[in-house]
């Protein structure tokens, strides 16, 4: 779950990460009042869950309350990558000496949180990482030992800071890790951390929370669905609300499988036979007929879908349950789109019997079924 900049900064502030004075505004008038409260030149920043807002004109300076009001009005009227801007962050403008990148991420290979840091922070950090990886300092945090002041100071030192600045940066790193750890974040980032004459200030903030850990962060659950705006398409949002694992694709063949790997392989096989998958839908383990029915219904209702391919390898998920779900959904929708089913495993015979009884054909291999689905979609 991705938090918006101002939400992430609220968390950062709680942990003592140094931030500029700021206020959130939902209307131009609020933006004007925010300026007055801050009492210094500001930037007005679109709060939106996608990158590239700067280039899209979503970040603008303002030197007077009136100017803050007018740029906020402009920004709040914008759409960035098709997303409405509901809030702006009005924030003290900083005199930048230098931009630093700090990130705490979950590293798959090292199986731990790692710190990434660079003195070449700012918008081009990905380029820095790609072209001059030696400018990125990487530090693995030992999960059993934790991340302590001297580890943080060591990272700051490797970045080339000494004395007071080393300590200040080390202190921010420790706070950032505390945010990452306690908030169950997959990604915690400050880019840029601005080096000013008075010390460091986090000018931007990213915080992506592990969806699996949301039960530990009840305060976020309410915002959960909303947070996917921009990341998910409207259909994906709808599926998310129904608790379906669904990814929208561009083709015309609806795909439902059980298990992420098998469902991906189903997409790939369809592609191999010249077809185009319209979606990825993984039933997960042990889906019951209702859940399967709900999934089938959801895909069949997609107007782009010309044929449906259900590929189930029965383990915990039972083939007879799958058959029931398909038949029920079809009946409910009174739909006649062609359906190809490949099923194997637990209660396979009964599932096939039910499907055949309802006039739905089955195949024994996913390769055959995929080929059939591609042909049906082309013929439809």
């Amino acid at each position: 779950m991705k938090l918006l900049e101002y939400e992430a900064k609220e968390v950062f502030r709680r942990y003592g990460v140094p931030l500029g004075a700021s206020a959130v505004a939902s209307t131009p008038e609020e933006a004007r009042d925010a300026f007055t409260k801050i009492g210094k030149p500001v930037v007005v920043k679109a709060q939106v869950g996608v990158g590239g807002r700067g280039k899209a004109g979503g970040i603008k300076p303002a030197d007077t309350p009136e100017q803050a009001q007018s740029v906020a009005k402009q920004i709040l009227a914008m759409r960035i990558k098709d997303l409405p801007i509901r809030k702006v962050l009005v924030e003290e403008r900083l005199t930048i000496q230098h931009e630093v990148y700090l990130g705490v991420i979950v590293d798959r290979a090292s199986r731990c949180f790692i710190i990434l840091a660079s003195r070449e922070g700012g918008v081009n950090i990905e380029e820095v990482a790609a072209k001059t990886p030696e400018k990125i300092v990487k530090y693995n945090i030992d999960p059993l030992r934790g991340f302590r002041s001297y580890h943080a100071n060591g990272v700051a030192k490797r970045l080339g800071y000494n004395g007071k600045k080393m300590q200040q940066l080390g202190d921010i790193l420790m706070k950032l890790y505390r945010v990452a750890y306690e908030m169950d974040a997959e990604l915690t980032e400050i880019n840029p951390l601005v080096e000013t004459a008075d010390g460091f200030i986090a000018a931007d903030a990213r915080l992506n929370v592990d969806n699996n850990a949301l039960y530990r962060h009840k305060e976020l659950e309410a915002k959960f669905l909303e947070s996917f705006e921009g990341e998910l398409t409207p259909r994906e949002m709808e599926a998310r609300a129904m608790d379906l694992t669904y990814v929208e694709l561009n083709g015309d063949i609806g795909i439902i499988g059980n298990g992420a790997g098998l469902t991906m392989a189903t997409l790939d096989t369809v592609m191999l036979y010249g077809g185009h998958a319209g979606n990825f839908l993984d039933l997960g383990g042990g889906a019951n007929p209702e859940r399967i029915g709900k999934a089938v219904e959801f895909v069949l209702k997609d107007n782009r879908v010309k044929a449906l391919f259900v590929n189930v390898l029965g383990g915990i998920t039972r083939c007879d349950d799958t058959a029931k779900g398909i038949i029920d959904a079809r009946k409910k929708l009174n739909d006649t789109k062609p359906i190809v089913v490949r099923m194997m495993g637990t209660n396979e015979e009964e599932g096939k019997r039910l499907l055949h009884g309802a006039g739905i054909e089955t195949d024994d291999t996913m390769e055959e079924a995929a080929q059939k689905a591609v042909n049906l979609a082309k013929g439809a």
């Binding site: 979950v106 798959r108 290979a109 199986r111 731990c112 949180f113 990905e126 030992d142 999960p143 059993l144 750890y181 169950d184 997959e186 592990d210 969806n211 699996n212 850990a213 039960y215 530990r216 990341e231 694992t245 990814v247 694709l249 499988g257 059980n258 298990g259 992420a260 790997g261 098998l262 469902t263 991906m264 392989a265 997409l267 790939d268 096989t269 369809v270 592609m271 191999l272 998958a277 990825f280 993984d282 997960g284 383990g285 042990g286 390898l313 029965g314 383990g315 915990i316 194997m344 495993g345 637990t346 291999t365 996913m366 390769e367």
Partner: protein, 289 residues
């Protein structure tokens, strides 16, 4: 690294839940020596004639179990795994899906400290074909033979195992690594094990988008770390960058973690790459005869 065989005495943590109950029966059918179950607060009950205890320590004391499979819900899985490890269970197989990655990080770190083999989390488990199963894979798919399988996914793994069986090759030991970003085992650790395992003549390597575990495995094979034949299948060629494809770990980030990158690396290391799952079994058949 410790895997399993017919002697392995298994305790099932979370045995009283729907999944624990169901799969305990399937494992026993397969021949797994499931000697006890554990659910705190349910000590003294029985599940399908398997005695249930409140703690792993008790189960061990009474039955001398030496490996654990965990079906405990995500919120309790870390504690369950730590309990198993501290009681000396090895391997510990974590079937549970949806464990916060912070918990898995701690779990895996502790396993390394104690020298315990952890399979998963979010894994179908592992099986020694014809001897013992600690997992949720369908029993009928596997037949004793010579192909080792390593997979990040579940059902795709059964799919390919079924093809291997249909080709008359059968399987030696098969391990599901798990679909989460952080898991206890990686391909390389298992390739090392399979390299030494005399029953394994070749390996089917089933990967998917996300991370660079397959690329690292390819490097390991390329430098001669694993010398038996490898046939691979990588799922997710049709996936879109930035979208999680079901598994928490199956996501292409920027240009990293694509199926092409993985397939190219493995091909470069001399592995056969299947276009569709069945190809893997056919290629192995050709090699092993």
């Amino acid at each position: 690294m410790k895997l399993i065989n017919k002697e392995t005495k298994v305790v099932v943590q979370g045995i009283t839940g729907t999944q624990g109950r169901f799969h305990t029966a399937r494992m026993k059918e397969y021949g797994t020596k499931v000697v006890a179950g554990v659910t705190p607060g349910r000590g003294g009950q029985e599940v399908d004639s398997t005695p249930v205890y409140d703690t792993v320590a008790e189960a061990k004391e009474k039955h001398g179990c030496d490996a654990s499979i965990i079906f405990v819900p995500a919120g309790g899985a870390l504690d369950a795994a730590l309990e198993a490890m501290e009681a000396g269970m090895d391997p510990v197989v974590v079937i549970t899906e949806g464990i916060p990655v912070r918990d898995t990080i701690e779990l895996v770190a502790r396993a390394r400290q104690l020298g315990t083999t952890v399979v998963g989390p979010n894994t179908p488990g592992l099986i020694k074909a014809g001897e013992s199963k600690m997992g949720i894979m369908p029993n009928q798919v596997f037949k004793r033979g010579s192909v080792g399988i390593i997979s990040r996914s579940g059902t795709l793994f059964y799919e390919i195992a079924a093809h291997v069986t249909n080709q008359g090759l059968g399987e030696s030991t098969c391990v599901g690594l798990g679909g989460d970003p952080v898991v206890g085992l990686d391909y390389i650790e298992l390739l090392k094990w399979f390299q030494k395992d005399s029953e394994t003549k070749a390996v089917a390597l089933i990967g998917e988008i996300g991370g660079d575990a397959e690329e690292k495995a390819a490097d390991f094979i390329a430098v001669g770390g694993f010398t038996k034949p490898v046939a691979a299948y990588i799922a997710g060629r049709a996936a879109i960058p930035g979208k999680r494809m079901g598994h928490a770990g199956a996501i292409i980030q920027g240009s990293a973690g694509t199926a092409d990158s993985k397939m190219n690396a493995l091909r470069g290391a001399g592995a056969f790459i299947g276009e569709q799952p069945v190809d893997v079994a056919k290629a192995l058949k050709k090699v092993l005869g």
